[in-house]
């Protein structure tokens, strides 16, 4: 029996495969049994909700896509009223939260505390002006927000989701660790721009967007590798996973878990394939624990 379980703070996951925030809804559970997953991260939520950005909101780019959704969400109370739908998925659920201030982050976390199994703090959305990425580029803000949320949630698992678009990634990661984070998600999308050369206008209603997909995989794996040497808490790798092999690369680079994002769109049963492929990979090599490959890059 292969041991795939990993821990994020007080939360033990049966395997390290998670669904990322903002790429799935309940409807996806018609495609496969969510209980095969380690955990799922819910769509980002703030206190009062957001209507989202002007369409068009997505555009395909080489080996990836740009999105400018703008954190559309119905607000914390509405999420709570629907929470049983998510609980019925029979998998640990992690709320992804954001706000305009450390206080809002803390308040959203406090309200959701009894309804979810953990929290992921979003300080990295590239598509909203007033919150998100600004905090993720400033170690002081990252520390304040993490600490505020930590104070709201006691010993519940707490993850901080970083932006890759910063020259202070390490400082922000350390600030999150110091503020009480149990893990780091690395990372959110890369800011990008796509232009319609006929109209001279941006392809997205929100002008720029966040790049995801295989195009960013090596960039993200590099960040996971460098961060994993510098911080003491687990890292959750995100970016461009479309196969079990992609996930395995992240583990070898130093990720303790991975999140599957926009790769779901072309292959909604990808999470099943990644879990099964990971087991096969370990079995074939007679490796009895996922821990035996995490961070084992030979250099």
């Amino acid at each position: 029996m292969i041991n795939l379980s990993i821990s994020i703070g007080s939360l033990k996951l049966k395997n390290p495969i998670m669904l990322a925030s903002g790429v799935w809804e309940i409807q996806l559970s018609e495609m496969f049994d969510f209980s095969i997953l380690g955990a799922v991260v819910l769509k980002g939520v703030n206190l009062k909700g957001k209507i989202g950005n002007l369409p068009p909101r997505i555009v395909e780019t080489p080996c990836g896509m740009l999105n400018s959704i703008g954190l559309e969400n119905p607000g914390t109370d509405k999420l709570i009223s629907n929470i049983n739908d998510y609980k019925a998925l029979n998998v640990p659920i992690i709320a992804n939260i954001f706000g305009n201030s450390a206080d809002e982050y803390g308040e959203v976390a406090r309200r959701l505390l009894n309804y979810v199994d953990g929290f992921e703090i979003n300080i990295s959305c590239p598509n909203v002006k007033e919150s998100g990425i600004i905090f993720g580029r400033d170690p002081g803000s990252a520390f304040d927000i993490t600490k505020k949320v930590r104070n709201s949630i006691g010993n519940k698992p707490l993850i901080v989701k970083l932006t890759p678009d910063s020259d202070k990634i390490l400082e922000v990661a350390k600030a999150a660790e110091d503020g009480g984070a149990d893990a780091i998600s690395s990372s959110n999308t890369f800011t990008g721009l796509a232009i319609d050369i006929e109209t001279f206008k941006p392809m997205l209603g929100g002008l720029s967007g966040g790049l995801s997909g295989p195009a960013i995989k090596p960039l993200s794996i590099y960040r996971v590798w460098t961060l994993s040497k510098q911080i003491g808490i687990p890292i959750i790798g995100i970016g461009g996973i479309i196969s079990p092999e992609d996930a395995i690369e992240y583990f070898i680079a130093g990720a303790s878990a991975v999140q599957i994002g926009s790769g779901l769109f072309r292959n909604p049963t990808l999470p099943v394939e990644v879990v099964e492929g990971l087991i096969k990979y370990l079995e074939k090599r007679h490796i009895n624990s996922i821990n035996n490959i995490i961070g084992k890059l030979e250099v």
Binding site: G22, V23, W24, E25, I26, Q27, L28, E30, M31, K43, I51, G52, P55, P56, R57, I58, V59, E60, T61, P62, C63, G64, M65, N67, I69, E72, G213, P214, I242, S262, L264, F265, R266, N267, P268, T269
Partner: protein, 251 residues
């Protein structure tokens, strides 16, 4: 229940400017009127996103798509030969109440979902428009299904010369009241739908639009396919793709 199924291209035929693809799926995909599916292939990772398509015909494991080569995926498809394997995800989107009889108004490749819808009806009026005769599909089949068919083309190469919206409005002027109680469904380019919206307002029609938007997941997860409506943003994939015409805001 949604599913992912492989499908093999069994037949491909040129239909004027369009291609008719006949796929045989591993598992039947019971699509209902209004619904769509996502199409992708293993090899086309350069085309990262799956593409939403309406079926034009479904029977068990047989699925037909009518495609106009306009973008990367549709041009790629146009080059595929029989035996090619694709991946299908569906059924997606809300199904609709079509009514026994109704009025269908198609512009260009907008014929596809309406042609599919016609299989669930007993007849009615079907207005078909296109740039020229190479963009008019399915007229004889629709007639044999009991539809009265009105064809118009921009260049007059078949049917009446002019826009399909002109032909439709002329009909309304001549036969006011004939559409009472009937639902009107339309699919086509944005300019056409704008005109349809005006006509719908003037003649107080019970009018519905099939809409499309660039799409990510097709299942309400990514919120990428938002459109403007009088009730805020809605998602084409789960709130549609068929919407009340008086609800949507077309830019």
């Amino acid at each position: 229940m949604k599913l992912k199924s492989k499908g093999i291209l069994k037949k491909k035929s040129k239909e004027g400017n369009y291609f008719l693809f006949t796929f045989e799926l591993d598992s039947p995909m019971p699509l209902m009127p209004g619904q769509f599916l996502m199409l992708t292939s293993d090899e086309s990772i350069g085309l990262f996103l799956p593409r939403p398509f309406s079926p034009v015909y479904v029977d068990g494991r047989i699925l037909e798509l009518l495609i106009k080569p306009v973008g990367k995926m549709t041009n790629l498809l146009a080059e595929y030969e029989t035996g090619k394997e694709m991946i299908f995800i569906g059924p997606l989107g809300k199904t609709i109440e079509v009514g026994k009889k109704g009025v269908l108004i198609a512009g260009g490749i907008g014929i596809a979902p309406l042609f599919f819808q016609s299989f669930f009806m007993e007849g009615g009026l079907f207005f078909i428009g296109g740039k020229n005769r190479n963009e008019i599909y399915g007229v004889e089949k629709l007639k044999s299904k009991g539809f009265e068919v009105f064809v118009s083309t921009d260049d007059g190469s078949i049917g009446k010369r002019g826009f399909v919206t002109n032909a439709f409005e002329e009909f309304l002027k001549k036969s006011p009241g004939k559409l009472r109680g009937l639902k009107v469904f339309s699919c086509g380019p944005k300019e056409m739908l704008k005109r349809m919206q005006e006509i719908g307002r003037i003649y107080d029609l019970n009018l519905f639009f099939y809409l499309e938007e660039r799409m990510g997941c097709g299942m309400g997860g990514c919120k990428g396919c938002a459109i403007k409506t009088n009730n805020g943003y809605k998602l084409v994939c789960i709130d549609g793709p068929v919407f009340r015409a008086d609800e949507v805001i077309i830019d």
